[in-house]
């Protein structure tokens, strides 16, 4: 077992696709299923799953991309910290290309700012240990998948009595935006493909409100193409049989109750914020983590008095509607012209897990544009 190639088996993928087709054909309905996680969005396009799914299945891309939903005001506020004397800013690679008011962190680095890409918050901790005369800030982003790693790094920093290390905390919580989405009056959604790796930490219970209160099925899914196909099949089966339950497709990695040790680390270090802003979705109650008072010395927001200023977003950009599933990326007037992966306007184009970036990279635009019946190719003039 290699845990990758087995789940890319074309025969089994075809079997699953056939089963989905058998279930949906003749029902005369469209099944609108949201894949919550940006990693799922990326996989659906990368492996061309849209092409093997019947037309009755419409995939809607959810808000599960931490880079995409981080508001520009937070990006600017975090990058402002690098202007303090002796600060080394560290962040994941995903953040390096996100534009703020001073350009992207990569641009700022090119102009001499000490911004370093790290693979893990532990790497940021190591940089702090090696540079006792500097202060190292880690620009922390991510859902419950990533937050425990930040928490464990802070626990370690405290044990080692480090005084030159802090976190600019932007960790977010997956369930509140799902409730916010479900409360949107214009939402048209039948079910959810739940995020697999968030669920390795939090388990399946946090999604129970979706079936209990909103009557919609949730299938927690793995990330390989066969995982996604099976999850879509399970979701469709529930809808056809009139069930709405939380099911776990990703049993090899997700326990129903999650990872108790990681959850304990979260509890030790973080506390819920009253409210946190999401790009495209606005302020959502209890949707972000802040650092507990016991760890205040490691909170960059407390050490440096971070100031957030509101940022005007290009009014033509449709990021919010795309995040809510109301529009497809190519419905945005900026898509592929003003807003491209090289020069992203909105964050959905920045991260490879953003819906716009996935569409741009894998050419979905061509698949989904309807060609008018009276359309004719102009004949080339031969000179």
């Amino acid at each position: 077992m290699k845990f990758i190639s087995e789940f890319r088996d074309s025969v089994l993928i075809q079997k699953t696709a056939d089963e989905i087709r058998r279930l949906t054909s003749g029902t005369g309905r469209t099944f609108r299923i949201m894949e919550v996680c940006g990693g799922h969005t990326h996989a659906i396009y990368r492996f061309g799953l849209k092409d093997v799914l019947p037309k009755e299945i419409e995939m809607i891309h959810g808000p599960g991309c931490p880079v995409c939903v981080l508001p520009e005001a937070r990006i600017d506020a975090g990058l402002e910290l690098v202007r303090h004397e002796g600060v080394i800013m560290t962040m994941f690679g995903d953040m390096m290309r996100v534009p703020g008011k001073y350009g992207t962190p990569l641009d700022m680095k090119a102009k001499g700012a000490d911004i370093r890409m790290v693979y893990s918050p532990m790497d940021a901790l190591t940089i702090a240990q090696k540079n006792p005369d500097k202060h190292v800030v880690f620009f922390a982003i991510g859902f419950e998948t990533t937050a425990p790693a930040t928490a464990l790094s802070l626990i370690m920093a405290k044990k080692q009595h480090l005084t030159n290390f802090s976190i600019f905390c932007n960790h977010i919580i997956i369930a509140p935006p799902l409730r916010a989405l479900l409360d949107f009056p214009d939402l048209r959604l039948d079910g959810f493909i739940g995020p697999g790796h968030v669920s390795t930490i939090i388990g399946c219970k946090p999604y129970e409100f979706i079936s209990a209160e909103y009557g919609k099925p949730v299938v927690v899914s793995g990330f390989e193409p066969l995982d996604l196909m099976q999850s879509i099949m399970m979701c469709v089966r529930q809808l056809i049989e009139g069930r709405c339950e939380v099911e776990n497709q990703y049993g090899r990695a997700v326990l129903w109750d999650g990872n108790s040790r990681a959850l304990a680390a979260l509890e030790e270090v973080f506390d819920e914020r009253n409210s946190f802003e999401w790009r495209g979705l606005g302020f959502i109650p209890h949707s972000g983590w802040k650092i507990r008072d016991e760890y205040a010395e490691f909170d960059a927001e407390k050490r440096f008095s971070v100031i957030e200023t509101s940022v005007e977003i290009n009014s033509e950009a449709a990021c919010g509607d795309v995040l809510r599933g109301l529009k497809k990326p190519h419905d945005c007037p900026l898509f592929g012209t003003v807003c491209t992966p090289e020069n992203p306007v909105g964050a959905l184009m920045v991260s490879s897990e953003g819906a716009c970036s996935a569409y741009h990279q894998y050419g979905q635009r061509l698949h989904e544009i309807e060609i008018p019946s009276n359309f004719k190719l102009q004949e080339e003039t031969v000179v």
Partner: protein
């Protein structure tokens, strides 16, 4: 962002109990085990995310899943399509970023 890559524990240095060497797509990495809810052993597969092992991947569950799917619509067996792309090595090695 939430990408986690399965890797196999190939060495567990005794003096550093909270670390293991994990082979991810042919690359060996030092991975922290402090997040695992149960002790890991040599040869276990773990999901690696930002330098931490998040959990032990269950081979039994994976086999059961594949078995279930193999049994699906057996009468429908169709000829092989083109195989989907295999993971590229450099991708497996770097995709675990965040």
């Amino acid at each position: 962002m939430c990408l986690a890559i399965p890797g196999k524990i190939v060495a567990m240095p005794e003096q550093e109990l909270s670390f293991a060497l994990v082979e991810v797509g042919g690359v060996r990495r030092k991975v922290i085990l402090d997040m695992l809810p149960e002790p890991a052993h040599l040869g276990n597969w773990v999901l690696v995310h930002v330098g931490f092992a998040m959990n032990i991947v269950s081979e039994k569950e994976a086999e059961e899943q594949l078995e279930l799917l193999r049994a699906l619509g057996e009468f429908l067996d169709e000829p092989l399509d083109e195989p989907l792309e295999e993971p590229r090595e450099e991708e497996v090695a770097t995709a675990g970023g965040v």
